[in-house]
Amino acid sequence: MNLALDAVKITKSFGGVHALRGADLKLRRGEIHALLGENGAGKSTMIKVLAGVQRPDSGTVAVDGRQLTSAFDPSDAAAAGLRFVHQDLGLINSLSVAENIAFQTGFTTRGGLIDTSKCMARAAELLGLLGASVHPATLVGALSQADKTIVALARAMHGVARLIVLDEVTASLPTPDVTRIHEVVRAGRNRGTAFLYVTHRLEEVFTLCDRLTVMADGANVATAEVAQTDMGQVVRWITGRSVESGRKPRSSDKVEALGPPRLVAKGLLGNEITVPVSLSLHVGEILGITGVRGSGYERLCRWLAGIEPCPAGEVEMDGQLLEGDPRQARKIGCDTVLGDRNLAAFHELTVRENLFPLGTGNGLQAERVVASRLIEQFGVRPHGAQELAMLALSGGNQQKVIFARSMSREPKVIVLIDPTAGVDIGARSDLHGVIRRAAAAGAAILFGSSDFEEVAEVADRAIIIRKGATPIEIAGRDLNWDRMLHAAQNARITTLTSEETLP
């Protein structure tokens, strides 16, 4: 039987930098194949080569047994049955689902005019293949992120789709939505299409994928059946080292060991939050704030960080009222780290300017000295990056710069909102270390994320925000992925005691 994809000995270099050094990638028909590796390992270049966007220096690509010409372009790749869905999805919000799909499949016309009902029917058919229930007439802008992803997937299924490359499509989705995407991908696989699945979330590999290939330094280091490997092995392949389990030792007396309260919130209410939330954050503590997307956990974090005014209720830091003005929050020592780099990074400015966007007033020389110390301390790569534009750094390194910016101010309260979104596993564990050290040094830390796995790993206790229901607090041994998922989905929690539930 032919392989769905057979890429052999692909090399590609950019001005002396070897992005790919003879990498192989082989996918069987009807399998979901994970492509893993740290940022800079060569995954993106490999995908660009497959898409016909970058021409390889050498090597061959065959799809379903048919060799592509050495100079194939994006339209040749599409004709051969290769499809690509990137994280940004490439949908137009102001147009309907059917129109978005028709842009790729071609509009059905009658007498030169668009036949709307035919286009709708076509879109419904493609969505139906994947068992999705999105209505073709809906405006894409009105859909949730998960539904948008499903539309992009359905669009990729048109024609003879032999291989669909999914490039970090779940990176910004909360866990329950990821499960929905997985169902859709399985439906596609069961129709015989192969999927190349690029992700930084390792647990996805084990719940969804059949096989995996790990890349490092421009070459494939391992290809394996998922069933015959384990998380530790995969991490070693990816990083070339073993990442120690960052889980803190937890015991039941942890709660008594808390420091004095630093941030106290009473009766926060408004927008998605329909049940008042009260909580307190203590010195030296990492408190997880989590929930599914749409639960309002993100907005709650913004209120607690004092960067957005809360319609009802109040947040006090050391007895001082937070007004929802970023300026005031920073002034009194409450700092926010956002994982959404469009809200946190100044892409065209240099790394040094990103470290000190407010200026220091101490002169450039002093600033350069501090910048190189921070770059060293936070392990920002490449070395000596301070005069490089921020956009020249990988996502993980940009995030380290954003962390360094906040941490160097030694704030009393740090609110992290999805702080490791789109960051590779090595950088992620580095950032977790930074968070723990800051807490150990006496900062009070709020860790907002929809990634239950990560919250369970980093936080001392967690509050799960649920739509239209009382938030649930989980701590100690109960703080694990399963328990959090159940709680978030309003499932009955059998062992939760009444003291652990917030008033």
Partner: protein, 332 residues
């Protein structure tokens, strides 16, 4: 690991061309002066020619500097050319027709510029209007005001010699207006490269939402940028009054396009969004030196437009090419 090897090879491969890009404007100026000095050995490399170029382009240099504050914050002030014409007419009119003391006339002109910048900034920052359209509209309005005040004709007559001396004297053979341009360029450079305020302005321009979340008062910074630009444009207008000893209400458009050409040319080697004072002044004088040479060779008056536009297109083309090469090297 990979990132490290990348930059190492990146510097060894791209170092020389990077330096070439960085110093392309001084190089351009040197090349232009050398070529015309060889072609026109009797008229071009002379003190009088240099003095003429320095003096006649100082107003343009000031106006080009006036475009910087708004551009740094990712805004756009299209009205600066018309503000220059307005300032020139008001200043000349108050002195000649109103018999005002020059100090009073200059104060009123600068105050008018301040208020105009405040209005533009308020409309853009607090009312959320598009800067390009807003300043196009307010520019047309202020041009109308200039025509109204001057009745559409030139303003000329007697002016106090002391006021004229400010624009027409020179020290050690170097015309005073050129000094003014250098002083303002130096101040802007200090402000934008060495003060927290300047850093914040670049932060606002780079990503205004991130700047807001960092606690930077974005709206206030934008208003300040418009006010700074308007004050510089008014200063350019006052300087031109003192050089000319008269005013022409219709010169706004003539200055507007060359000023913007110089700012963008000055920013091209520094990278996207890197508007800077020294680059701008260098660009003004490199272009002026080229145009003066071409005109002495007998080119027609419209060669100026071809040269300005052509140079800008070549510069942004080269900057883009260099930028693409840079990003290819550092991304994967």
């Amino acid at each position: 690991m990979t990132a490290l090897t990348k930059t190492q090879s990146g510097t060894s491969f791209g170092g020389r061309s990077q330096i070439l890009v960085r110093f392309s404007l001084p190089l351009l100026l040197i090349v232009v002066v050398t070529i015309f000095s060889i072609a026109l050995p009797n008229t071009y490399p002379t003190l009088i020619n240099a003095q003429t170029i320095m003096a006649t382009n100082a107003v343009l240099a000031l106006l080009a500097l006036a475009a910087i504050p708004t551009l740094v914050t990712s805004q756009f002030d299209l009205s600066i050319g018309f503000q220059l014409a307005f300032a020139q007419s008001i200043c000349a009119g108050l002195i000649i027709y109103g018999n005002w003391h020059p100090v009073a006339a200059v104060t009123v002109t600068l105050s008018a510029g301040f208020v105009f910048g405040l209005i533009n900034g308020w409309l853009v920052a607090y009312c959320g209007l598009n800067a390009f359209i807003t300043t196009l509209a307010s520019g047309i309005v202020i041009q109308g005001a200039t025509q109204w005040y001057t009745n559409g004709g030139s303003v000329f007559g007697m002016m106090p010699p002391a006021f004229l001396a400010l624009g027409r004297s020179s020290i050690l053979g170097i015309p005073l207006p050129f000094f003014y341009a250098l002083v303002f360029a130096c101040s802007l450079w200090l402000l934008y490269s060495h003060t927290p305020w300047g850093r914040r302005a670049f932060a606002v321009g780079g990503n205004s939402r991130a700047a807001h979340l960092m606690g930077i008062p974005v709206e206030r910074m934008v208003v300040q940028a418009f006010v700074a630009g308007s004050l510089l444009a008014a200063t350019a207008g006052i300087l031109s009054t003192s050089i000319l000893g008269s005013a022409n209400p219709n010169i706004g458009v003539n200055f507007l396009l060359p000023a913007f050409a110089a700012v963008f040319l000055g920013a091209a080697p520094a990278g996207p969004g890197r508007f800077n004072a020294w680059g701008t002044v260098l660009a003004v004088y490199a272009l002026a030196a080229g145009i003066a040479g071409l005109q002495q060779l007998g080119s027609a008056f419209y060669i100026e437009q071809f040269f300005n536009g052509g140079a800008l297109l070549v510069a942004i083309g080269l900057a883009r090419y260099a930028g693409v090469r840079r990003s290819r090297k550092s991304s994967n």
